[in-house]
Amino acid sequence: MISELFTTTVLIGILASGIRLATPYLYAAIGETFSQKSGVLNLGVEGQMLLGCFAAFYVALTTENLWLGLLAAMIVGAVMGLAMAFVTVNLHAQQGISGIGFYLFGLGMSDLLFQKLLGTVETVKGFPEIYIPGLSDIPGIGEIFFSQNILVYGAFLLVPIAWFVLNKTTLGLKIRSVGENPDAADSLGVSVARVRYFTIILGGTLSGLAGASLSIALLNVFQQNMTSGLGFIAVALVYFGAWKPAGVLAGALLFSMVNSLQLWIQVLGIPVPSDIAVMMPYVLTILVLVATVSKVRTPSALTKPFERED
């Protein structure tokens, strides 16, 4: 029975869905990388994602336009980000707690909206697969990498873009300096508040997008609390990835591949004891946690509010 796993078709299937499942992790974790690099820990990702999930789904369902849904999710995420920025940057609130506040708010709000506006679980027709001409015909490779929907491609494109912005642009330099030494950045004329507003709103927008990728591109439904901890995993992935986009990519892929493997094992009905299958993603967390311990350095000003000395 277990040999069924190792047929080419199944292996390709596992890899293809692994790539697909990495999408929400990537959007959320890359967004979080930006805000953490600038010194702000946003624990509200899960709440932003849930509201994004709902906004995208509802707008897509009522207008029958997926792009409007996507836009709605990004706007909702950005607004949540704006609120988070106001609370943490202007009012110097404890970042961990305000994040949990936003998480509870997003969880409750998406739930309430679902009850009031939908009531039952419905489905939408999500973003279709785009077959890249030529490349999608390559056996195996084509199905794994080049037959995905647009949000999957977007998520993977985001990784090099994020790397470039963080490491090769003036903006990236500003973000990093604000996260490492806000006093020095400030004395050189960088507006700490403006940079942090930018990164937190960007993070919110990407979290909204991550939610949209779940509800209108991957699962094509909305359910209460459908992210079930994914946003918190995304926050942890930033740490696992040592605040580097490539590291975040590696972490996201590791998680999504193991998840995909576990799903396929269940689909194929392979008699691996079910407890082991369910445990796999978690065991992985321990291993990665242990493996990355002490190899990474946190941005110095992370979680510290900045107050200008007059």
Binding site: L91, M109, D111, Q115, A236, S274
Partner: protein, 349 residues
């Protein structure tokens, strides 16, 4: 000094009012009458003796968790791993009960050992987060998040694996314990006076520890300024570890209470979010131990009262989450506004 305390209180009240206003607006937008909703929450929590006892059942684990978190907060630590510590407490308790309940051990001894095991389990899990921080340099927020996942996983594994119910395993939990080892409850309610007593003792211990002892004072010094505390001869990392383990022991006790007094088995969601809720309460009361008693009661009442809503107003208990979330955010905002206000007032003088 007295003036600042009064203005403090004023800002807190203002925050509560604003949170109620925002939640009311959301309710109106959702087509529900906010007054009806609040009335229902009240009736569903303090409306009858039965409801009140349910509120107390929710208050117990919350208060015990908050007691623990106040210790780590005082030491300047963000123990987000508290969820996992509650879970590990529940697991350790279940383990001891399963080991002893069918032997000749007297039930009272089994119960005592099981609760003790829960506290040890929670403390050890917290020690892990503490060790990751002090020796591995892992920020306790990330370590805690990771360890929470691991603890959840361990529960799922136990429920579906070694401790699965004969017949079909389900997330609903393990086999119920023998009735002889259940903590006795009062009348027809689910309230255990033993658990209630332990919760009150917990918060009192923390009150005296933080307000009246040398250890508490040094703990706060570590929290306020670890470098200065170190230079003054306070063994900083030992104090951090101690804070983690104390908090873990309390969290484990909360988990033990859920297992022994409420569910009588290990269930998939044994912590039921009390860890996160506890973090909110501990932050809201801003280190003032006494205040955690009414604030935790208020949050417990919201949780229980919210259950009533879906039936009557066709609203999900989600409104509770919205109210709690906005409440926290407004308290944070008001705290920020207050500090600006004070600073400006200070400059004028």
């Amino acid at each position: 000094m007295k003036n600042t305390r009064i203005s403090n209180f004023g800002f807190q009240i203002l925050a509560v009012v604003l949170a109620l206003v925002v939640t009311s607006l959301i309710l109106i937008a959702a087509g529900a009458n906010p007054l009806d909703a609040y009335k229902n929450i009240y009736a569903g929590s303090f409306g009858s003796f039965e409801k009140l006892s349910d509120v107390l059942v929710a208050w117990i684990p919350l208060l015990i968790t908050v007691a623990g978190l106040l210790v780590t907060f005082s030491a300047g630590l963000w123990n987000i791993g508290v969820e996992g510590q509650i879970i590990m407490g529940g697991i350790a308790t279940t383990w001891i009960v399963r080991l002893l309940q069918d032997t000749t051990t007297p039930p009272a001894l089994t119960i005592a050992l099981a609760i003790l095991a829960g506290m040890i389990g929670g403390a050890l899990w917290a020690a892990l987060a503490g060790a990751l921080k002090t020796f591995g340099g892992v920020n306790e927020i990330f370590g805690g998040l990771g360890l929470n996942f691991v603890a959840t996983a361990a529960t799922i594994w136990l429920i579906f694996g070694p401790w699965k119910r004969p017949g079909v395993a389900s997330i609903a939990g393990t086999e119920a314990f023998n009735e002889s080892v259940w903590l006795p409850t009062m009348g027809d309610t689910r309230l255990s006076l033993w658990a209630l007593g332990l919760a009150i003792v917990s918060i009192m211990i923390v009150y005296f520890l933080l307000q009246g002892t040398y250890i508490g004072l040094r703990l706060k010094a570590v929290g306020k300024n670890p470098k200065a505390a170190y230079l003054l001869g306070v063994p900083t990392w030992q104090y951090s570890m101690m804070a983690f383990m104390l908090c873990g022991a309390f969290a484990g006790l909360a988990g033990a209470m859920q297992v022994m007094a409420v569910y009588h088995r290990l269930i998939g969601s044994i912590s039921s979010g009390y860890g996160f809720l506890g973090l909110l309460v501990a932050m809201l009361v801003n280190y003032q131990v006494i205040w955690s008693v009414p604030v935790a009661l208020f949050f417990a009442a919201l949780n229980i009262g919210g259950i009533q809503l879906p039936i009557i107003l066709k609203l999900d208990s989600s409104i509770t989450g919205i109210l709690q979330g906005t409440l926290v955010l407004f308290v944070l905002m008001m705290e920020g506004v207050r500090q600006r206000f004070m600073k400006r007032a200070g400059e004028k003088q």
